[in-house]
Amino acid sequence: MTTPPPAVQFLATDGTFAPSAGSDEYLPYIEALSDAQHEQFYRDMFVIRRFDTECTNLQRQGQMALWPPSHGQEAAQVGSARATRAQDHIFPSYREHVVAKIRGVDLMGIVGLMRGTTLGGWDVNDPKNGNFHGYTLVLGTQTLHATGYAMGVNFDGAVGTGNPDTDTAVVVYFGDGSTSEGDVNEAMVFAASYQTPTVFFLQNNQWAISVPVATQSRVPLYLRPRGFGIPSVQVDGNDVLASYAVSAKHLDDARNGLGPSYIEAMTYRIGAHTTSDDPTRYQTDEQLAHWVARDPILRFETFLKNKGASEAFFADVEQEAADFAADIRRRTLELPNPTIDNLFDHVYSEPHPLITEQKAWLANYEASFGGDK
């Protein structure tokens, strides 16, 4: 095996602009970015980290069943999400909080899921939710849904027409652990076979809970899709510019009818898998220190400061983050518990005698306690 090319990178870990060898084809996307877009990237990352902290605290205080933080993975997520266009569709895993936010989803939807008040959270068919599909927690299953969706996009003729506002790409997020699931591989088979406009976006955060990525693969994961006939690239996932540019390019390719592609974003989950996890059991201090030094937000902050972003800007972002988190906290505490309807009403979309009967039984039974059991 020849030495793999370096991951695409535009920002060195110290925040200086230093495109990696082989990144030329992505450069135009970087050059087209405005200062406002740069600041938006930063804002996205900063606010979501504060949100993550708030949700973790809420969980510690018994207000959530669980919280899966995205701490450390913000650049991979923001870069890819900001590269999508309105008509694109997103199939997330369960950690893409900022992608949801960027697409327009009220994050209370995710809070509801993790607090345990709902199994859903938002309506993907409501245009304000930016085609951000529901979370499915069974690892890898969403890669097939995304691929099937993209097959439909193809059948609808919504790729390769040259119309940038209707040609549609489909992005699917998944983790390094999930790559081992049969479904992810079958998704690549179907995507290649039907030449779907799917962009497989792998966040390699080095861990599947406690299991290191080396257990899933002894060669870099971005090589895997090539054996399925799917082109791929590895990107520094802690470099928001690289994540953006690489995503933008591959999304364009997908919309232009060039078929599926695969992006491996190298990143790191700083902190726990979820609030149920104790990473000190498997992660070394050195590993953590290594990656903390590559923090995606700090890196981009330095870049922006070097470019002369104002103190006022940073103060404003800080304030927005605080407000956002406070708002989430307030609304979380106000979230009502679901009712009996919630148990029965949407299991089927058409009448179902057994459900009708059981709903009536339970309502009756609950009423027998005077309604305040």
């Binding site: 068919n125 529901g134 609808d156 049969g182 299991v347």
Partner: protein, 326 residues
Amino acid sequence: MAVEELPLAKAINAGLRKAMRDNDKVLLMGEDIGTLGGVFRVTEGIKAEFGDTRVLDTPLAESGIVGTAIGLALRGYRPVCEIQFDGFVYPAFNQITTQLAKLTNRGRGTLRMPVVIRIPYGAHIGAIEHHMESPEAYFAHTAGLRVVSPSTPNDAYWMIQESIESNDPVIFFEPKSRYWPKGPVELDASASPLHASRVARTGTDATLVGHGAMVTMMLQAAELAATEGVSLEVIDLRSLSPVDYTPILDSVTKTGRLVVCQEAAGFVSVGSEIAATVAERAFYSLQAPVIRVSGFDVPMPAPRIENLYLPDVDRILEAVDRSLAF
């Protein structure tokens, strides 16, 4: 009223074509269903009529088939998946139980999952391992799915169309031993609701219920019993989830005796459910315990002894005798 004599396989074919003509979001997907027309030729000629974006010869991966069908449904399509044989549905089981069955509920009314999964099932065809199974119980137990099985060409024609029209996922079990015999199909009748059962023969002494290929056997048993003066009522379940209990309970109220018949292994099965529910709801009507005639709780055996495994007319009559003797 146009009535045509069709074998069940061709009735499904006709039903599929009708649904595809009526709604261009309906598409078929599966292994070998296009060019070959399926190993049972159920989809024969459909690709020629509708082309390869409506009839997909997919890669060989059942989870992939159902998983991408879910994605297609999210895009507004109404995919009809074929699983080549009963014994090969299990690779898709995760997508079916954790995704297909649950997405409507997860979506809290915002999503629809109009996916049909056609599964040729059951025995009596002398085929090797994994080609003659009756896995209905797994799907009937799964909340969020509808499970149906036609026993006649007419039902097959209508039920496949109703299944495609349903906004819920439907597991459609096709009794493969009944693919070939012909029966009348009323091409312009209107359909009865998908979950309604059907009294296939009226009688007074005992009730038989079952579905799929078992219906033919129950009718044969009733015929034979009649020659000995025993009058059996036969109910074709048609839907295994939900079960349409009213006609069954009505019948048992009349006859006082029930024999539940199925090819599937009996332990924790649809037959168990029906026996338990009827024993509960018709407690005072029952003059004998509900008797179940099922496959044994062993893997479907090699075809040269499938007849030892399978419930047949004799076993049904033996159960009726036990019931009447009680």
